[in-house]
Symmetry: C2
Subunit: 350 residues, 2 copies
């Protein structure tokens, strides 16, 4: 068995991290009796600066036949963010109907949380974030540009189809975990989108009688991720709220450098796996970026391919490494080692 | 000099906290040579449950002639949140053009932050939140209700007028504080509203050459309020982002029970002062609600009335009380005292 993976190294630390992790990916696959073939797409902000587009016009078509996509990072100081993201990351999530964004938050043994009194093993939840619409819909405009009475509007769009998909996926996950789902909304202020969302949750919940549903407003939820992160099991949220809550989840679990994510397609198109961190222009080229978020994103990729033994093994070696006080670690988690050292140590443990 | 204050005790712990704090308000005013007359409006969810409306139809007219409004809390388990809030709190903020929501986050001496390594005095920032439009605009709808192809839309509305008001106010504050403004957006995903917002910030910034502007995406900002809260001075954000960030600000500063807020009118209509916390149905009637958020909201009110000596004094006695290990404190900040005890102790210190 061999899988055909599209790799988009992207911007900033993306290329150096992917380059470091690639041999580990191949070695893990080898060890578990499958092959990984990768095709590199050199898309990103450099391409934009030279050719005026983040990816070619037929970019999605070229990705479509791969079994999955691994993405490094997107974002560049010389390219406006909305250009970079609407030119590459967001069209893939939307174009391939990657409705489900799954982001685990785990405080590993050996990692210090910025929260007082939490130690390894005590935080372990997963956020399911709607990934293709909501507050990220490309709907809106501006009128009377530059005038005193200018107005800008931005419309969030929620379809029942996408909403039911993410909500049902979260219930499935909760049923398999601790049976506890937290539904995040802001229905007190957003009486159309969020009241609709709450209704969908109420409907779907009838199919999952064993799952207890808690409802939290996004402001209270942000606070509670700081105040009582250990009480969460599965959270479900819209695109924007999921964005905020997963960054919070990453920081209370120690570092954005450890946060992995899966963008799962609802149909036949490929899913995409990427670290939650961005392109980190401040540390580009120093060789100190934490590769673990990309390693764990690969673990999510393996799991998606059905190679769960290989996936589990990657989680295991990361766990082992972080728990080992003598193992190399990057500066974001309190060490002084480089990207390559961390990957080499993982390879030894495999 | 005597001021005429409208008091809306509202729901849940609102009445018990306001009742406890009221004598302190009068006493402070007395001590500084001005009078406070209060008129009670018994509006809120109980009224809704009996009469079908949170406030009378001419509610805003009745409030309009007061010098300011003091609000307890809004929210009731038997009333849907969007009904309670759209029936009372939000119409006042909008109807009186209270465009500026000002929320200080201070980690007081004697208060333990949930963040490792922070102690009293180390966190001190203020968020200026747009308060009348943005993501809270009452614009949207649902089509194909209940069908598979149902769609719900919610439109955020940003006017240049309101955006410039909040941005300019934040720059003014930054110029008077440490000269450091953090502009929160999500321009990488919301290319209409947030790109507009960034443009307004860039324009207004030219009037304030001494203020350094940092730009942060809301997801990164949420993380940074946990990772490096000490580095913030003044933040400016939209209605929704301000909502999330001020709850985060409250929790990293120890407790929502200490967080005060001012809703400042841009024109002649009255401003409103309220604690950031909600109606807290779980502790209603137990007499243990923390009154300090309401006391500090009163301090913001005094300041707004031009009674800055009285305002300063209230901040001072709260600071003193919290720094005193023998002073009574409520359970949310690690004590066992009741609302009344805390207020009585403050009165003694005055
Ligand atoms: C880069 C940005 C558009 C993206 C998002 O908001 O989804 C990122 O923050 C993420 O969480 O993957
Ligand atoms: C109650 C709710 C509508 C309100 C808001 O979102 O503004 C509250 O959370 C606040 O922060 O004052």
């Amino acid at each position: 068995m061999s899988y055909d993976i599209a790799v988009i190294e992207g911007d900033g630390i993306g290329p150096e991290v992917i380059d470091a992790v690639r041999p580990l990916i191949e070695r893990t696959a080898d060890g578990y009796g499958f092959g990984i073939e990768t095709t590199n797409y050199g898309w990103g902000s450099e391409r934009y600066l030279e050719e005026g587009a983040m990816m070619p016009e037929d970019g999605l078509d070229r990705l479509a036949d791969h079994d999955a996509i691994l993405l490094g990072a997107v974002g560049h100081p010389d390219v406006p963010d909305h250009v970079a993201l609407h030119g590459l990351l967001l069209p893939i999530r939307k174009g391939f109907d990657q409705r489900i964004c799954k982001r685990p938050s785990v405080l590993f043994e050996g990692i210090e949380s910025p929260l007082r009194g939490y130690s390894g093993g005590e935080i372990d939840f997963v956020v399911f974030r709607e990934n293709t619409e909501g507050e990220y819909a490309d709907v809106g405009g501006r009128e009377h540009r530059g005038e005193d009475h200018e107005v800008a509007v931005q419309t969030a769009v929620f379809t029942r189809e996408a909403t039911e998909t993410i909500v049902r996926t979260a219930f499935e996950a909760a049923a398999e975990r601790e049976g506890h789902l937290t539904n995040i909304t802001k229905s007190n202020a957003q009486a159309y989108s969020m009241v609709f969302w709450d209704e969908v949750v109420a409907e779907v919940s009838e199919e999952y009688p064993t799952v207890a549903v808690e409802r939290l407003l996004v402001d209270a939820a942000s606070m509670d991720l700081v105040r009582r992160p250990e009480e969460f099991d599965v959270l479900v949220a819209s695109n924007l709220f999921g964005d905020v809550l997963t960054d919070l989840g990453a920081i209370v679990s120690g570092s954005l450098g450890l946060a992995a994510s899966a963008n799962l397609a609802s149909g036949d198109e490929p899913s995409m796996f990427e670290p939650v961190h961005g392109s980190a222009p401040d540390i580009v080229g120093q060789g100190v970026a934490n590769p673990l978020a990309t390693v764990l994103s690969t673990a999510l990729l393996f799991d998606y391919l059905g190679e769960s033994a290989a996936s589990d093994r990657l989680w295991e070696v990361v766990r082992e490494q972080l728990a080992d006080p003598n193992a190399p670690r990057t500066p974001d988690v309190g060490g002084e080692a480089g990207t390559e050292d961390v990957v080499a140590d993982l390879a030894d443990r495999l």
